[in-house]
Symmetry: C2
Subunit: 235 residues, 2 copies
């Protein structure tokens, strides 16, 4: 019997209409869909894709443990890969739904590392959060010979400072409880005035404002900061 | 009379099926579509979107001059913005087709700078080339607390060296005739073995190989190099 294919499907930043035609086709055709849920919350990727799901598929919810312990997470990925592998062995394609793009952050690479050697694999790229945030802000990120840096807010302050000290333009992802630290670093680097805060880009809860106008002391995980090269032109 | 809306539509990396549902809807609904063509070549963005065009729209081809002189290009953008503005004044939406994403490199920001203050503007983000290249290579780009750097190959060698010397992972875009210079810099930095060459990702002409296996001395403009953090797992 032919084994099934492992499909990594990027579902984009939040708006179901920002899924690609290929993502929608592939996830509809697959008899099994899988997704990761973390912190006891429903899977964001499944929520984005929900309107496109036919409702007849087997679903594998890969729930990550509440405690952020690497070895528990690894065990959860092992178990998820084994459940997905069992479907692939039966010749069924499994579409793994991934927020944004499957290979740009996110947990799909954990499954890929465990399964790609054994099964045919196809990846459908998706729209990443920082381009959706730029669209929400109507803010060009880079042009011509400029460079762009993507850093996660989870880095220690000194590493953030080093990576942001010589930039043309940048995006700082995964803000969450790291907002205060990021603000401090941007202030030290003289970048505060350039910073645009974008929360839940492309969704009904979208917020776009200058970071200097943000009163909040914490941000959701799905918030980011853009440091564009040029001042905004479209707002 | 209400003026029309300026729509910046990301058409993605090359495969028409990697356009988003929203991009397809917006470009079909607009009475006017526009695109840039350069170097006397047909517009790549129009070619990507062609299967989705109803064939009844007015089209504005913004042809950039053959000579790469900044003042000639600026004059071409001025003229293009003025033609687009005339349609917007008549109350017609104009969908500007953009390869990849409208705000991540590309010439749309030139039009945005000239028109956004005067007309309502909406941006539809698109899949960028480096995630499509990672999908083609089945290669995770970054995970966890890693950073990512995007640099254009057009930079002078010493600037490339500076920007690539401390990376977790990176993509080098716009290779073209800069391939030899990039190879030299990667060799000096000890990054040659990590480099994956991807040409025309997501199209029928797609090529993926280790840079060390590439015999060519020049590359197309739509070729890039990935410097992933971790060795490939999916090939």
């Amino acid at each position: 019997m032919t084994t099934g294919r492992l499909l990594g499907i990027g579902v984009g930043p939040g708006d179901p209409e920002l899924m690609t035609l290929k993502a929608v086709r592939c996830l509809r055709e697959a008899p099994v869909v899988s997704y990761v849920s973390a912190h006891g919350q429903p899977s964001m990727a499944r929520r984005i894709a929900a309107v496109h799901l036919p409702g007849t598929q087997r679903e594998i919810n890969l729930a990550l443990p509440m405690e952020p312990l690497p070895e528990l997470a690894q065990a959860a990925y092992d178990e998820g890969a084994s459940r997905i592998g069992a479907e692939l062995e039966q010749g069924r394609d499994v579409a793994v739904l991934c927020e944004g793009d499957p290979l740009f952050y996110g947990s799909f690479s954990q499954l890929l590392a465990r399964l790609a050697g054994k099964y045919r694999t196809e990846i459908v790229p998706g729209v990443v959060s920082f381009t959706a945030a730029a669209a929400a802000a109507r803010q060009p990120l880079i042009a011509r010979s400029e460079s762009f840096v993507v850093v996660p807010a989870t880095l220690p302050a000194e590493q953030l400072r080093a990576r942001l000290s010589q930039i043309d333009a940048a995006a700082i992802l995964k803000l969450g409880r790291h907002l205060a630290k990021v603000r401090r670093v941007l202030d030290e680097l003289g970048l505060l005035e350039r910073a645009i805060y974008v929360e839940r880009a492309s969704t009904a809860q979208e917020r776009v404002l200058q970071l200097t106008d943000l009163a909040d002391h914490e941000a959701p995980y799905f918030a980011l900061i853009l440091l564009p090269r040029t001042p905004g032109v479209g707002r």
